[in-house]
């Protein structure tokens, strides 16, 4: 697809020179040079905390550099705000979703850049029409009048992209645009990217999915610890090269042999059903045992019911019916707090919204779910709390000056470590992890996997949901596949080939009733 413009070499449309950004206590970027070529996908790679997002925030006008300059079309430019950058042709899709849930799709797309008559009257008809065009270009027929709150995360991501396109950007920054998308949505996005390239747009692309990068990237730049590490054009940048530049090694989530000593079933589920309002089931008659010392990977496409299964098990879905037993004792009538006490814990998918309290420090977040353990006479005992926090802080190697750092100043991977650490403090027997590696880099992923193995070795049942096949194989002892709310495969890892898994994950989609046009069909 990108063999298009080999004839004439694309020119540099935007250049960041000697970019430095100093935050109190840390240097996020140091003397970084970054060239953006027109009509190309410019890939920016680096571990979490390497400075990618900081650089993008500067290029998009969100943040100002401490020193350094931006050159666009031969002239030095300054972006004083997002709107200013947008006016000069820079669009951005942020890593974390930034939409107003109370507004419709159209209203979100045109927020801050409304089309008006006479400057005051919003031309809703024109905006709706334009929104429909943009969504059609992204091959999604989302109703422009839908409230964003009612969209799934993948659809919200599409709206974010539509919003960035609305400005006719010349440079479009995409920070992890595929982290919430299903395989077929990713294909659509790649088609859109190819089309944008053709129409002359330069794309800056950040992702942790290396296969993706190698497939669509034209120019590669690697950052490491806030500095420029290396750059290469398409062809020279291979996955081993990228990993070597990023980490200094070229290992990719290598599977480590683990002595599996599987114990008794600690979490038993029988006939679990979660009805969908308006008919059907989100979780459809699931019966499964999770045993101590075992790591179970649950694979499924977006909307397969993995998160819903976890939420039902954890007691977040009051409508769920069926037997749930933790350690042999019935738990399906218990509230969340009693289930935690019984030894179950869920690490949620959306850590921003469900996993962390944004206004507390790293330490306070870690101890939040287990305050009872350090409470005597209705008082939190600061000493023991501090000890427990320090222990976890070190064990998980959280990259922050101290446990007193605000949680918001941590990178995505480190925030995820805090969420997992928080669950460990409750001393669970069963740990449910919903997409534990979403939006974190290879290094941090490997650490998350290592933690999962250690926990299983200690006799925990570890269950995680993922939509990445490689991850399934990297740690699972046993693989479950979900489709349409049902478990469609339950195999030991060595029997679970990619083909078996993919086939099981699309089972049920071809059924004539109920009619779902799931993307997996076009695969």
């Amino acid at each position: 697809m990108s063999a298009v413009e080999k004839a004439d070499t694309p020119e540099v449309i935007l250049r960041a020179e000697k970019m430095t950004r100093v935050f109190p206590g840390t240097v996020a970027l140091e003397d970084v040079d970054f060239d953006v070529y027109e009509r190309s996908v410019n890939v920016l790679i680096g571990e979490n905390g390497a400075g990618k997002s900081t650089l993008m925030r500067i290029l998009a006008g969100v943040d100002q550099p401490t020193s350094g300059r931006i050159v666009m079309g031969g002239e030095e430019v300054r972006f004083s705000s997002v709107l200013d950058a947008a006016r000069q042709g820079i669009g951005i899709v942020f890593q974390e979703l930034n939409l107003c849930p109370n507004l419709t799709v159209t209203e979100n797309i045109f927020l801050g850049r409304d089309m008006t008559r006479a400057g005051v009257h919003i031309d809703m008809a024109r905006q709706r029409e334009r929104a429909r065009e943009l969504l059609a270009r992204l091959e999604h027929d989302i109703d422009p009048d839908t409230l964003v709150d009612d969209l799934r995360i993948g659809e919200q991501q599409i709206v974010e992209i539509a919003k960035a396109l609305a400005d006719d950007a010349r440079v479009l920054i995409m920070d992890e645009p595929t982290s919430a998308l299903s395989a077929s949505e990713v294909e659509v996005l790649f088609r859109v990217i190819a089309e944008l390239k053709k129409s002359g747009v330069a794309i800056i692309y950040i992702s942790h999915r290396l296969e993706e990068l190698v497939r669509i990237g034209d120019y590669f730049t690697v950052l490491r610890d806030g500095r420029f590490q290396a750059s290469a054009p398409k062809g020279e940048a291979t996955i081993p090269w990228i990993i070597r530049q990023m980490l200094g090694t070229s290992e990719f989530a290598r599977r480590q042999a683990r002595q599996v000593k599987v114990g008794e079933a600690v979490l038993s589920v029988k006939g679990l059903k979660l009805p969908r309002v308006g008919g059907g089931y989100l979780v459809d008659d699931v019966s499964v045992d999770f045993r101590a010392g075992e790591i179970v990977g649950i694979y499924g496409l977006l909307g397969a019911g993995r998160s819903e299964l976890f939420e039902s098990l954890f007691g977040l879905r009051a409508e769920a019916r069926g037997e749930v037993a933790i350690g042999g004792r019935r738990a399906d009538q218990l509230p969340v707090s009693r289930r935690i006490a019984a030894g179950l814990f869920l690490v949620p998918e959306d850590r921003q919204r469900d996993g962390l309290v944004q206004n507390l420090t790293v330490g306070k977040n870690l101890s939040l779910a287990s305050l009872a353990k350090v409470t005597r006479f209705f008082t939190v005992q600061t000493g023991p709390e501090r000890q427990a926090i320090d222990r976890l802080f070190r064990a998980l190697r959280i990259k922050a000056p101290s446990p007193d750092t605000p949680i918001t100043s941590l990178s995505g991977g480190n925030q995820q470590k805090v969420v997992i650490g928080k669950s460990l403090m409750t001393e669970p027997r069963v740990l449910l992890l919903d997409e534990p590696t979403r939006g974190i880099d290879i290094g941090a992923k490997e650490e998350v996997f290592r933690t999962m193995r250690e926990l299983a070795d200690q006799g925990l049942a570890v269950v995680f949901a993922t939509s990445d096949l490689k991850e399934v194989h990297a740690v699972s002892d046993r693989v479950l596949v979900m489709s349409q709310g049902r478990i469609t495969a339950d195999l030991p890892d060595h029997q679970a080939t990619d083909e078996v898994i993919v086939r099981a994950s699309t089972r049920g989609h071809a059924d004539p009733i109920p009619a779902h046009d799931h993307p997996a069909q076009d695969q």
Partner: protein
């Protein structure tokens, strides 16, 4: 993607929830009809033109405040100073009518005309709102605290202006050319009080701003997700500053109407009005966490509260019971609101 096509089996419960949803959506309106019907049966003379005029005059005052309050709450803020602004603006108006603007260095007193006086009074209210907004955006004071402080300051200033006394008889004098202020409170057009006409105009403008202008859209965005608004290029501080100024302006209108209706201004007038305004907004479906609510809903909410209090008075229900009933109605409204959101969400997900 994943378009769920409703299967025949799913239709029946869906139809039911749609009807329930409609009823819940119109709940404030239904509540209004219910209280009107209830009082027409229980209280003699409730359904008379004279009474309707009295009730709507009361409602108008609260509605002005509630409109401004709705803008503030939509951004996720709160304005506790509006009641005090009613008192302060009334006193400013009273002082201007009775004593004019004394320019001591020239030894003259300027008596502004009624229009000029109204202009000055509105400026005073807007200015108080501006200070609220500056405290919140520049000094980072929480809206609750900033406007609580302003409530005391404005009330205290109102009391200081007269030493706590009332400015009586604000009719003006022909020799000063400042007659006519009472018309605002007691005048009518086509038999309908001037204050009601004014309310219609203000409400229409407010509803237009909220639904049809970029500024209105930005108000909702700030309340829905401030960070997203900032990243979309919305000047969040400017929006916040503006809504507190609007709230101050609306409170000033209410202050003028109150003073004009009484043909006198008292420094304590407007006490606890802020709570009625918040109640009207909440009854009308405005979410205190911001981002959700409409001007129309607020107006209906103000009518429910107004009809309820006046009706209970006419029925001879004791003031103490009135308070209990009002409280129950407000909390009940919020419970219904939560129900509606839950059902609506489920229906849409289905």
């Amino acid at each position: 993607m994943t378009n769920t096509v409703a299967t025949p089996a799913a239709d029946a419960p869906k139809g039911q929830s749609t009807l329930l949803l409609l009823l819940l959506k119109l709940r404030t309106f239904i509540a209004l009809i219910a209280v009107v019907v209830f009082f027409s049966l229980m209280a003699p003379n409730f359904v008379t033109v004279a009474n309707a005029v009295i009730v709507s005059k009361h409602v108008a005052i609260n509605a002005f405040l509630a409109i401004g309050m709705t803008f503030v709450i939509l951004t996720g803020g709160i304005d506790l100073s509006v009641g005090a602004i009613v008192g302060l603006v009334g006193m400013v108006a009273g002082a201007l009518v009775l004593y004019g603007i004394p320019l001591e260095m020239f030894g003259v007193v300027i008596y502004p005309s009624v229009w000029e006086m109204i202009g000055i009074a509105l400026l005073v209210g807007t200015f108080v709102g501006l200070v609220n907004g500056l405290l919140i955006t520049r000094m980072q004071v929480a809206p609750f605290i900033a406007t609580l402080g302003m409530m005391y300051v404005a009330r205290g200033t109102a009391l200081l202006m007269s030493g706590g006394a009332t400015f009586p008889n604000l009719v003006g004098k022909p020799e000063f050319g400042n007659q006519g202020f009472p018309v605002l409170g007691s005048g009518t057009i086509l038999g309908i009080p001037l204050s009601i006409w004014l309310l219609l105009v203000v409400a229409a403008i407010a509803a237009y701003i909220a639904t049809k202008t970029p500024f209105g859209r930005q108000i909702y965005a700030v309340g829905g997700n401030e960070r997203a608004a900032t990243l979309s290029g919305v000047n969040v501080n400017r929006v916040k500053l503006a809504v507190y100024m609007i709230s101050g302006f609306c409170a000033a209108i209410a202050g003028l109407v109150v003073a004009s209706q009484l043909v006198a201004s008292h420094p304590a007038s407007g006490e606890t009005f802020e709570m009625n305004a918040i109640a009207a907004a909440v009854l009308g479906g405005t979410s205190l966490s911001g981002g959700r609510g409409t001007i129309g809903g607020t107006i209906v909410g103000a009518f429910v509260i107004g009809v309820l209090s006046d009706g209970l008075v006419m029925m001879g229900v004791s003031e103490f019971w009135q308070m209990v009933i009002k409280g129950v109605v407000i909390v009940g409204a919020v419970i219904l609101d939560q129900m509606q959101r839950r059902i609506a969400r489920n229906a849409r997900l289905g």
